[in-house]
């Protein structure tokens, strides 16, 4: 039986919110032993969830994707039950340690000695205040790899600027290139595209450094500015500015030259997207619709004219799509070779025949949440299949293993660290 690709690699994870934890989840999926270090005495907003000790009333007000705990109940430990955290917490171990309390940094140094990688994504000044730097790490372990993922950079004027992914996307120009073309950006939704980019490429960066270390024996510091990391994704618009001085604006759901849109379907809030590229597509599309009279209008006769009369065409297409379910629209059009698909809500995704046939979802158990069906791994490997080996990590659930087995703490030391507020599985009641 082959080993998982990163088996034998130990990663210390002091990341917060989304980008960092998503990065270490990739590494954990591939077999690294990821040890997530959290403090019992600080509850990072949007980290483990909206609140440590919510009442049932406050929980009910939260969006399903952030605060939607099972059956909207806080349970004994709400912080292990939030979707916003449990989406990036599989295949990791959990320990608690407070860097700010006496003894905290000593434990951290002992961990550094036996680890290969440290990942963090905090504001630069937070790491400086804690005294955590690459020099500190190398002092304990010369071959260690450190991945830092600041919002903008670890130096310069923006190094401590506060940002979520949504702000980073504003700075690098994505926000003005998405959203409705006929509305101002106040109608834009907060998306986490740059968190996804940072987490993914952060994992790639760590593996590139591990690969290099195998050859040279040397570790290194990697600085991934989340802003700079995502600029590449906008390369097409950036190059248009370099070449033509143009500032790309949002096209809404439209395509630069094809006919494209998101059209209403039968039922409440049901939608399908369709793209019609060229004359071949158009001929097939007309046939799928049964060649209605409006298709023969002169203004729809060639692709340039169709693009020019896009609004008129959209009205006709929308009238047709409303007669069908969004999945029927996909089937009717894909059967004749047209790009079309439903906009899937979450129920659709769980019921989707394609995702299910490819076994995308996995049944996973976690003690404080129960047994549920979770989204799985975004790629398939034939010889080292990647699966959820362990459900969303609970706060401090592997303290015994880390402190006693890895760090050889005696029972006495362990109890002392518990008394000092380093070790535990519960946030104190004072934290709201």
């Amino acid at each position: 039986m082959p080993k998982l690709p990163l088996e034998g690699i130990r990663v210390l994870d002091i990341t917060v919110v989304w980008a960092g934890p998503y990065c270490t989840q990739f590494l954990g999926d591939l077999g690294a032993e990821v040890i997530r270090i959290e403090s019992l005495n600080t509850f990072v907003p949007l980290g483990r969830g909206p609140m440590a000790h919510p009442t049932e009333e406050t929980l009910r007000e939260m969006s399903p994707w952030t605060g939607g705990t099972p059956d909207r109940q806080p349970g004994a430990r709400a912080w292990n039950r939030y979707p916003i955290f449990n989406a990036h917490a599989r295949n990791k171990l959990g320990m608690t340690l407070d860097f700010l309390r006496p003894g905290g940094m000593d434990i951290f140094k002992r961990l550094l000695k036996i680890s290969d990688v440290l990942v963090e994504n905090n504001p630069t000044e937070t790491m400086e205040r804690l005294g955590i730097s690459y020099q500190l790490l190398q002092g304990q372990n010369p071959g260690i790899i450190m991945l830092r993922m600041p919002a903008y950079g670890n130096d310069g004027a923006y190094q401590n600027h506060r940002a979520y992914g949504l702000h980073i996307e504003g700075v690098i120009g994505h926000t003005l290139q998405r959203g409705y073309a006929d509305m101002d950006p106040s109608a834009n939704t907060s998306v986490l595209m740059s968190d996804a980019a940072a987490g993914t490429q952060g994992a790639f960066a760590v593996m590139a450094a591990l690969h290099h270390r195998k050859r040279t024996g040397r570790g290194q510091l990697i600085e991934l500015s989340q802003a700079e990391n995502t600029m590449s994704f906008l390369g097409q618009s950036f190059m248009d500015h370099s070449m033509n001085g143009r500032n790309a604006a949002t096209l809404g759901n439209r395509h630069p030259y094809a006919v494209q849109g998101c059209y209403p379907c039968k039922g409440e809030d049901r939608w399908a997207t369709i793209t019609i590229f060229d004359d071949n597509d158009w001929t097939a599309f007309k046939q799928a619709l049964g060649n209605p009279d409006w298709c023969r209008e002169e203004k729809f006769s060639d692709s340039i004219s169709r693009y020019h009369y896009h609004d008129d065409l959209d009205r006709h297409i929308g009238e047709w799509t409303q007669r069908f379910d969004s999945y029927e629209v996909m089937q009717l059009l894909q059967n004749v070779g047209i790009a079309a698909g439903p906009v899937m809500d979450q129920r659709d995704a769980y019921a989707d025949p394609h995702l299910n046939q490819r076994e995308f979802f996995e049944v996973v158990h976690q003690e404080d949440t129960g047994t549920h069906v979770y989204p799985g791994i975004a790629y398939k490997m034939s010889e080292t299949p990647i699966k959820t080996r362990r459900g969303p990590v609970r706060l401090g659930e592997d303290n015994e293993y880390v402190y006693k087995t890895l760090l050889n703490c005696t029972d006495e030391e362990y109890s002392e660290l518990e008394a000092q507020g380093h070790i535990g599985m519960d946030y104190p009641e004072e934290i709201p």
Binding site: D155, S190, V191, H212, Q236, M239, M243, Q260
Partner: protein, 404 residues
């Protein structure tokens, strides 16, 4: 010779357009030796997509292609021919990684099903990037970037309740798919080098969104836990203020300082007397739509007197989560990003010297570098073939036969 992170990795690149080439760009930019195989006379489809200087199409001047293919070599091969099959097998024998983005089934039609390649190179990593993956009922369906977000990602809850769902900008999701493929490919490379295991990696672009941290995994889990759907909110709604874009003298500025962060927003506005009123701090104040409107008006009066970068600097003094909504032009001249080296000028023999986005991350021990600009179509035919032992007259013959 600089010490490149992936300097000892050889990649054969049979990809096209955006997702596949972005995956191999990451490998190439961090040091891998990438040979890109293109269709003779036609090349990668991205060569026909813009932007082009002055909007004049030219296969060596596509901004999209130039950006996605830095540090790669290009050879042209008509894979339908027997002679090309011989060349490609020789390249596969020496490769660590093959990345392809054909429609599922095409590799088998070309005689390159993974199982058959394994006999040539038992530790080969083959990464296939396709719309919906190599299996499943949608396998042969077409896909566009708006569909990626609609079917795989979180389009359903993106936008406002009064309108249709709306996609993300340009083709960012295809880059995310390429980046995800690069992670899986690196994982497979580890198994190949450490354990001598070759394998086939199947990347479905749809699943790179279904498994994305851009809210989709959370909304799925939220539905699983509660049975509740995450949808789009009405325009201007949502708990907590200030939140969202507000106009400035030269564009827009975005702030998130609701709920617990509200005092930071008050400080950003210079703590005016009106905001001393206890009504702003009463329980429920953050959910009160009239108060929200009153505050948003004060904010707008403040922001309209400032440029977006002035507003950003002041907001950050009060540690307000915030951002200017920059254009590409704003970004390209930003002094900080320019000083840090976020952009690079690359000289290309046909397209000239242009400014490109540079490294996504800085590896302090093995610097990112542009060793060569995006290749001309078939630029490295002679070089690669002569390395494989073909003589000059063989290359002429292959060219005459239309193989290269």
């Amino acid at each position: 010779m600089p010490d490149l992170a992936l300097g000892d990795v050889k990649v054969l690149d049979l990809t096209n357009l955006v997702a596949g080439p972005y995956c191999t760009k990451l490998l190439a930019d961090y040091g891998a030796d990438v040979i890109k195989v293109e269709i003779p006379g036609l090349g990668d489809g991205a060569r026909r997509l813009g932007p082009f200087p002055g909007d004049m199409p030219h296969r060596e001047k596509s901004g999209l292609f130039l950006h996605l293919n830095t540090n790669k070599q290009s050879i042209t091969l008509d894979l339908q021919t027997e002679a090309a099959g011989i060349v490609i097998r020789e390249l596969i024998r020496e490769a660590d990684i093959l990345v392809e983005s054909f429609r599922p089934g095409t590799m088998a039609q070309l005689g390159m099903a993974y199982e058959s390649l394994r006999s040539i190179n038992p530790t080969l990593v083959m990464t296939s990037i396709s719309n919906f993956g190599q299996t499943g009922p949608y396998r042969d369906y077409r896909l566009t970037d708006v569909m990626v977000y609609g079917m795989g990602g979180e389009m359903y809850s993106t936008g406002i309740a009064e309108r249709e769902p709306v996609k993300l900008g340009v083709n960012v999701l295809l880059y995310q798919a390429g980046a995800t493929a690069s992670v899986a490919t690196m994982g497979a490379l580890f198994a190949a080098r450490d354990q001598g295991i070759g394998q086939h990696v199947d990347v479905s672009i749809m699943e790179t969104q279904a498994g994305s941290i851009d809210r989709r995994m959370s909304t799925l889990i939220g539905f699983q836990y509660t049975g509740e759907i995450t949808g789009r909110n009405p325009h201007g709604s949502g708990a907590g203020y200030p939140f969202g874009a507000t106009p400035c003298s030269d564009g827009y500025f975005e702030v998130s300082a609701g709920r617990g962060y509200f005092p930071r927003a008050v400080s950003m506005l210079g703590s005016p007397a009106e905001l001393d009123d206890p009504k702003w701090y009463a329980p429920g104040a953050q959910m009160d739509m009239e108060l929200k409107q009153e505050f948003d008006t004060m904010l707008m009066i403040w922001s309209l007197e400032r440029t977006k970068s002035e507003a950003w600097a002041i907001a950050q003094e009060s540690r307000v989560l915030s951002a200017p909504l920059n254009t590409m032009g704003d970004l390209a001249v930003d002094p900080e990003f320019n000083r840090r080296g976020a952009f690079v000028e690359i000289e290309h023999p046909v397209a000239g010297t242009l400014k490109y986005p540079a490294r996504p991350f800085i590896m302090n021990d093995c610097p990112w570098s542009i060793r060569r600009p995006a290749p001309l179509l078939g630029e490295h035919n002679s070089e690669v073939l002569s390395r494989l032992g073909y003589r000059a007259e063989d290359v002429v013959r292959l060219r005459q036969q239309g193989v290269i």
